[in-house]
């Protein structure tokens, strides 16, 4: 049994403690906004916040997340009101297929929490998520737009 707090909600989950956090979020907690892309922390589609830090949840055993505060994409908007990052994503019509975008938004949200006005270099150094559709031009514009919103 692993005790998790996801988006402010407590869960007691009967699961093998070596199971990656990603799959517990998707399959036991039923929150499918967090995506599986590679399973080896390369692509970032599974990015969530653990105690406020961006983590690639496919490569963190669920036992390591026990007792910590986990936020997924579903936990960003409060009462249906989008965050600045989500709103900038909508305004800039960023997503193409959209599959990687939840992870991208989680990574960007963590960056902006740490550096509210990131430079292009900050973005290049921190946002290393893969997007096969190639939305990077709009992602960069949206990050700056969110920072200035």
């Amino acid at each position: 049994m692993v005790a998790l707090t996801i988006n402010g909600q407590a869960h007691n989950i009967d699961v093998d403690p070596t199971t990656p956090l990603l799959w517990v979020i998707r399959e036991q907690a039923g929150l499918t906004g967090t995506k599986y892309g590679c399973g080896i922390a390369q692509c970032g589609a599974c990015t969530v916040h653990v105690d406020g830090l961006a983590v690639r949840s496919c490569s963190m055993p669920v036992s390591d997340a026990a007792g910590k505060k986990i936020t997924t994409i579903e936990g960003l908007a409060q009462g249906g009101v989008l965050t600045k990052v989500q709103q900038a994503w909508v305004n800039n019509d960023v997503p193409q297929c959209g599959y990687c975008q939840c992870g991208m938004i989680m990574a960007v949200s963590a960056l902006l929490a740490e550096k509210p006005k990131p430079t292009d270099k900050d973005i290049d150094d921190t946002i290393t998520n893969i997007c096969r559709c190639g939305t990077f031009q709009q992602v960069r514009e949206a990050i700056h737009a969110a920072a200035n919103a």
Binding site: K35, Q42, W89, G98, T128, I130, R132, F136
Partner: protein
Amino acid sequence: MNYVPNMNRRSFLTSAAAVGGGLALGIDLPFGPNEAGAQTAAPELGVWVVIKPDDSVVVRVVRHEMGQGTVTGLAQLVAEELEADWSKVTIEHPTPGESVKRKRAWGSFSTGGSRGIRESHEYVRQGGASARMMLIQAAANEWKVPAGEITADKGVLTHKASNRTTTYGKVADAAAKLPVPEKPALKDPKDWKIAGKPLQRFNTVDKVMGKQVYGADLKFPGMLNATIKECPVFGGKVKSFDGAKVAGMKGVKKVLQVGDTAVAVVADTWWQAKVALDALPIVWDEGPNAKVSSASIAEMLKEGLSAEQGFVGNQNGDAKAAIASAAKKVEAVYSYPYQNHAPMEPMNATARYTADKCEVWVPTQDAEASFAAVLAASGLPADKCEVYQIDLGGGFGRRGAFQDYVHQAVRIAKEMPGTHIKLLWSREEDMAQGRYHPIMMAKLTGALDKDNNLTGLHIRLSGQSILASVRPQVVEQEKGRDPLTFQGLFQTGEHSFSYTIPNLLIDHAMRNPHVTPGFWRGVNINQNAIFMECFMDELAQAAGQDELEFRRKLLGNHPRNLAALNAVAEKIGWGKPAPAGIFRGLAHMKAFNAYVAGAAEVSVEGGKLKVHRIVAASDPTYAVNPAQIERQVAGSFVYGLSALYYQECTVKDGRIVETNFDTYDSMRIAQMPKVESIIIQSGGNGPWGGIGEPTICVAAPAVMNAYFKATGKRIRSFPLKNHDIPVA
């Protein structure tokens, strides 16, 4: 691969990405009785438009959305002719089962070959126009005035003379009882108010909130999860597996062989299935291909470069004689590797089978091909099968012609009747069981006369045919030739060659290794544009001429190619001094009936390549949504440059070596150049061009031509990682 079930049926042909009109995709589907069965319980005005009493407008779209904006663009075209209020437009997807019942009223579902809009714009616009005419006629009947006196705008009908108005929702019931006008006149695109505008895509809010449901996210009561491993050596089979070793693992429900070639585990959760499959001992019968390697494939292709026989794709004059008598001969050999699509969402399908019904939910680029796969794998007739299309987490050509994962899901579901089975591949399976960009080499030989005019060109392609594997009937019709191999180089058609050269020969020595090839975004233009456009620079440089001027002299007969090339040259500043350390390169092509060009600015410092800018020009005839076109162009460069920089699937012991993004990398935001997009709308009544694929091919040659200017080094094999060229 043949997914045609053995049943009595009439068949139809869907024309596919025609190269010189020679290519057709055959899918056999049965036709049922011609019965209506509108899925939305509201008045249907023709097959494309449904108007609800609250004035909301449902536009039907059968093409698929994978991020390319096609669904939004098609809805814009229908709404434009309908004179709808865009804020009230939603879309729905008819299913292949309904299509069969209604004699394929919505035409092709296939969303590949950049065909989504360009091949259906006319009939969907007519659908919108017919619906508008029906609504006007219904109001005219009610008001007893001539239809010609009624105007329609934003869902409101107005009779000015009597100062009366009504809305679409109020007359929709009456309109639905009227005959559907055939071949209505269409608006002049210069009068467009909804089409042609940079409107945002549908579903974006759901996507940024994590609410968009992809195939991988589907949930049904009692659903079980499956994952699968197919013999990693293409053509190999399952010899044996020890299911008892994992049957007792937590959550495991079933361990089963799927067809001759694969083994799957079904469990409560996907993670349990994956852990069990990884632990499952499987012995493969790898067959004769287990000895094949990248080196042996390269040998096979090298032999083809000088082989006597080749299928001719383009020919005029006598290229070999011109080369033999040239004042200067220029020769180069290029090669292009296997590449995987690697969409972010791995292959998946969810199936439920009973003796009375087989249903599949699948992210697909062609729901009709998925439907054919369901029929074949279930053994049930069409009226007991159905496919529900789900928006894709990327497609790029992997999810259209190939429905291997649908076959697998249905076969597994058939073993567990009544239970929804979600089959999701691991990334490793996705990398190992691709339908790869074909491998190709080219020997290019050019003849310059004493005045440095290009008098002859011979391009010998040697490598893999996609159609020989995927549509052998086309290759048979072509007497062994694969016309698709010549995309961008062909004599005529939507991928025709743009240079006028007095003596020309472009031929193909078909060499087909056992690796399964497929349609990869852009298909054969990727390598053909590199071969052709890098070699044009080599020829211009051998002739001592400016690379742009050298091309311009040969493009006189192809003004739209020339216009695209001139547009990027002007915008990049060709002929003007570049900033210190910055070098420029150009490329262009006609592909999917669009005329495209690219120009790049790069620097190389400490051996590291940096692409600063790429200017792109596209002439698709008309631009249905300029904002989505810009995004497709920029995205195509990410896909094409990721391939150029990093991507190669190598072969060892008959199988693909690269199993995940650690060895098959993809561009990140740090490598993203600034993309400046020029859209040229030539207009007119000719065929429209595609958007999703054409520009992909100009990025790599433009960058490599600039790289040569920066370094004096000509790279002729790819990806760049093999040359230790890092990208900043």
